[in-house]
C-alpha cells in the first residue's frame, strides 16, 4: 500500500522502494533504523538523501543494495524485485548497482594493487580477456583523472584520500552500472578536494548516464549535486522535493532547523541565536507519533498521537508534518 510516495516521473522509475523497514537488535533493545520508507528515483536523476547522524540514511542506502537485510518492504530495480533475489541472481544484479563509500582509504584492500582492485569487478563478472580488462581499467583510471601508468602497480596507502576516492569511483564505474549509491563520498575529504570529487561525480554521471542516490549530512553538498532531496530524521522521511525549492522554502520544521544551523561563510550573517532544541532522541525509543516533536516548536497533542504521513502539499513537494511551514 503506497500512498504518499515521493513520485519522480509518472512512469518507469529506475528504483522503487516500498515501505522499507530495517531494525536491528543491540542486546535486548531494538534500533529502529529505517521505519516505513518509500521512495522512487527516475532514470538519470540524482536524489539527495540528507540527515544527521543516526537518522538511518546509510542504513537505507545499504538496505536498498541488499547489503543489509530488510525486515519488511520491497526494493524494485528496473522492474526486478531485488528483495526477492538470492544467491547467483542477486550477485548478477549487483553489477548494475554500485556503492561508493565515505572512507576512501578503508574501501580499498590494503594488500592489493590498484590495478587489481579496479579490475576486480570485471574478474567477478567473468571477463576473461586479460588485455581487454587491462584496457578498461586504464580507461576508467584515466576517466577519473589518474595516470594509470603511475597508479596501477601501487598500494592504497601510498595515495591521499582524494586519490583513493577517485580509485573507488573508477572501480564502481568499470562495469558500467546504471545506479550508484554514494554514501557520504566527500565527508572525509578536505574542503578543497571535495569540490574536485563532486565535479568528478557530476562529470561521470553525465558521461555514463548514471542515476545516483547521494547520501550526505552536509546540506550544501547535497544541494550542489541533487535534483531532488529527501530529508530524513530518525528513520523516517520529513520532506521530499526539488532541491532548489526545498531549500528556498522548507516545508518541514526540521529542514528549517537544519538550514538555520549551517554556518554561512559570510560575516554579515549572524548565527541565529537558537532556542534550546536539545539532543536528538535515541533510535532505540523514538518518540511516539511524529519523531521530531520533542525538538519542534510547533508540536502539539496531535503530533504525539498521530504519525504524520508523507503527503503532497504542492506539485512534487511532499512533507510528513501536521503543521508544515507552507
Amino acid at each position: 500500500m503506497m500512498h504518499g510516495v515521493a513520485q519522480a516521473l509518472p512512469r518507469d522509475p529506475l528504483l522503487k522502494v516500498e515501505n522499507l523497514v530495517v531494525e536491528y537488535a543491540v542486546g535486548a533493545k531494538t534500533i529502529h533504523a529505517v521505519s516505513d520508507v518509500s521512495l522512487e528515483i527516475a532514470r538519470g536523476e540524482t536524489l539527495g538523501l540528507v540527515g544527521e547522524s543516526g537518522c538511518g540514511k546509510s542504513t537505507l542506502g545499504r538496505a536498498i543494495l541488499q547489503l543489509r537485510p530488510a525486515d519488511s518492504g520491497r526494493v524494485v530495480f528496473d522492474g526486478c524485485e531485488l528483495t526477492a533475489l538470492r544467491g547467483e541472481a542477486l550477485r548478477k544484479m549487483r553489477r548494475r548497482i554500485q556503492l561508493i563509500f565515505q572512507d576512501p582509504i578503508a574501501s580499498l584492500n590494503p594488500r592489493r594493487q590498484i590495478g587489481d582492485i579496479v579490475a576486480e569487478p570485471l574478474a567477478i563478472a567473468g571477463h576473461r580477456d586479460d588485455k581487454k580488462r587491462q584496457a578498461l581499467v586504464e580507461e576508467m583510471l584515466g576517466a577519473v583523472g589518474l595516470d594509470p601508468a603511475i597508479v596501477t602497480g601501487r598500494l592504497p596507502h601510498e595515495f591521499s584520500g582524494g586519490q583513493c576516492q577517485r580509485i573507488s569511483i573508477a572501480r564502481a564505474l568499470v562495469l558500467n552500472p546504471e545506479f550508484i549509491v554514494c554514501d557520504e563520498p566527500v565527508s572525509a575529504l578536505d574542503v578543497s578536494i571535495r569540490a574536485q570529487i563532486l565535479n568528478l561525480l557530476e562529470e561521470m554521471k553525465a558521461r555514463f548516464g548514471l542515476t545516483l542516490l547521494f547520501i550526505a549530512h552536509d546540506l550544501a553538498v547535497v544541494k550542489a549535486v541533487s535534483d531532488r532531496v529527501a530529508v530524513m530524521y530518525l528513520g523516517r522521511f520529513c520532506e521530499v522535493g526539488p532541491s532548489e525549492q526545498l531549500f528556498a522554502n522548507p516545508a518541514h520544521p526540521y529542514t528549517a532547523l537544519l538550514i538555520e544551523a549551517i554556518p554561512v561563510p559570510d560575516p554579515d550573517v549572524r548565527p541565529a541565536e537558537r532556542v534550546r532544541v536539545g539532543e536528538p532522541p535515541s533510535p532505540i525509543a523514538p518518540p511516539s507519533g511524529c519523531r521530531f516533536r520533542t525538538r519542534c516548536v510547533r508540536a502539539d497533542k496531535r503530533c504525539s498521537e498521530e504519525v504524520p504521513e508523507l503527503r503532497e502539499i504542492a506539485p512534487n513537494r511532499h512533507v510528513a508534518c501536521h503543521h508544515p511551514l507552507m
Binding site: G162, D190, A224, A261, P263
Partner: protein, 331 residues
C-alpha cells in the same frame, strides 16, 4: 586593538623527524591573541594548525623540535619547567579537542574527572569540588547534572561529551581556551549549540579563545580575527570582517569559492582548486601554493613570500600577487 595581548606566538617553528625526511609542520608563525577576543585559525588538514596548538600547549610528540617564543601572560611557555607548566595548564590555559571520546578517560566517571581537575588546581575540598562540578555541568547545559557525575563517557552522546569536556576545560577559569576542531565530529544542529555555548562562556568569563577549524562558515560567524594557514605558514591574517570583505590571498579566495553554498543553484560546477597541498617533507622553494594558484607568476615559484601588512591596518598577507580589493566575496 586596545585590549592587552594575552598570547604572543613569535616565529614558532616545529620540525618532526620522519623516515621520509624532516617534516616542517609549522613554518615560522607569528600570532597574537588579545584578552577576551577570539582568534580563528582556519586551514585544511596538514596545514599545521593542530601542530601549532600543540606547540602552544607544549604537548608536542617527544621527537618534535621546537623553535621560537610563545609568550603567555608575560612568560615564555617554551622555557618553563614542567611543574610550572602544569600549574599554568588548567588555571590559565585550557584546551578542548575534537573527539571527546578520546579526550575523556573512558574508565573514569565524569564526576571523577571533573572533581580531580578541580581539586588538583584549586585549593578546595571534596565537597566544594563536587558542588562546583554540578554547577559547571549545569552551566554548560547538561540536564540532571547530579546524575551525570556518576556516568561514564560512553553513556553520553557526542554533544554531551563535548559539553563535559568543555566543563572540565573551563573548571579552573582559564584565561585562554584553545578549541581544536571542537565541533567537527558533531551534527550541525549540535554544532550550533556547542558554538553558542562557547561564545556565551567566553563573553561571561572574558576569556580569550583560539578556535581552530577547517570550516570557513564557523570562522565567519564566531571569530574576531582570522589567521589562514597553508603548508605550515600563516598566509593571511585579518579581522574577520576584513578577511571576507577584502581578502588578498588567492588561496583564501579559492577556498571560499570551493565550498558549496546553500544559495547556489544545483549542478553548478564548483570552482575546485586543482592539485593537492605540498608534501611537507619536500618543501617548495617558492610559495607553497604556487603550483595550484591561478595567479602564479615566475617570482612566486622562486621566492617565498613573507607576511606583510596591507594598506588596511592589521590585515597581513603573504603573496606577491594579491587580489585587488574589489574581489571580496565570491559567489
Amino acid at each position: 586593538m586596545t585590549a592587552p595581548v594575552l598570547l604572543s606566538v613569535e616565529d614558532v617553528a616545529v620540525d618532526l623527524p620522519t623516515p621520509r625526511g624532516n617534516l616542517r609542520a609549522v613554518d615560522h608563525v607569528d600570532l597574537e591573541v588579545a584578552a577576551g577576543r577570539t582568534l580563528g585559525i582556519v586551514g585544511e588538514s596538514g596545514c599545521g594548525k593542530t601542530m601549532l596548538s600543540r606547540a602552544i600547549l607544549q604537548l608536542l610528540p617527544k621527537r618534535a623540535k621546537l623553535a621560537g617564543r610563545v609568550l603567555f601572560d608575560g612568560q615564555d611557555l617554551l622555557r618553563l619547567g614542567s611543574s610550572a607548566l602544569r600549574k599554568l595548564r588548567a588555571r590559565s590555559l585550557a584546551v578542548v579537542f575534537q573527539d571527546p571520546m578520546t579526550s575523556l578517560n573512558p574508565v573514569l566517571t565524569i564526576g571523577t574527572q571533573l572533581i580531580e581537575t578541580l581539586m588538583e588546581h584549586l585549593v578546595i575540598d571534596l565537597a566544594a569540588a563536587r558542588a562546583r562540578s554540578i554547577a559547571l555541568l549545569a552551566e554548560v547545559g547538561i540536564p540532571a547534572p547530579e546524575q551525570r557525575l556518576m556516568q561514564y563517557p560512553h553513556e553520553l552522546s557526542g554533544g554531551m561529551r563535548q559539553r563535559v569536556a568543555l566543563a572540565i576545560a573551563l573548571s579552573c577559569e582559564p584565561k585562554l581556551l584553545i578549541a581544536d576542531e571542537p565541533t567537527t565530529a558533531l551534527d550541525v544542529t549540535i554544532q550550533a549549540q556547542i558554538l553558542d555555548l562557547l561564545a556565551r562562556e567566553q563573553r561571561r568569563r572574558h576569556m580569550a579563545m583560539i578556535l581552530i577549524t577547517h570550516d570557513l562558515g564557523i570562522v565567519a560567524g564566531r571569530t574576531d580575527e582570522v589567521a589562514v594557514m597553508y603548508a605550515g605558514r600563516v598566509v593571511e591574517r585579518a579581522p574577520t570582517q576584513a578577511l571576507f570583505k577584502s581578502m588578498r590571498m588567492p588561496y583564501t579566495q579559492a577556498l571560499l569559492a570551493a565550498i558549496p553554498k546553500l544559495d547556489a543553484p544545483p549542478h553548478a560546477p564548483l570552482p575546485a582548486i586543482s592539485g593537492r597541498p605540498p608534501d611537507p617533507t619536500r618543501p617548495l622553494e617558492g610559495c607553497s601554493f604556487s603550483p595550484r594558484c591561478r595567479y602564479a607568476a615566475a617570482r612566486c615559484q622562486r621566492e617565498k613570500p613573507v607576511l606583510r601588512e596591507a594598506e588596511e591596518a592589521e590585515h597581513h598577507y603573504a603573496c606577491f600577487n594579491p587580489l585587488k580589493i574589489t574581489a571580496g566575496l565570491s559567489a
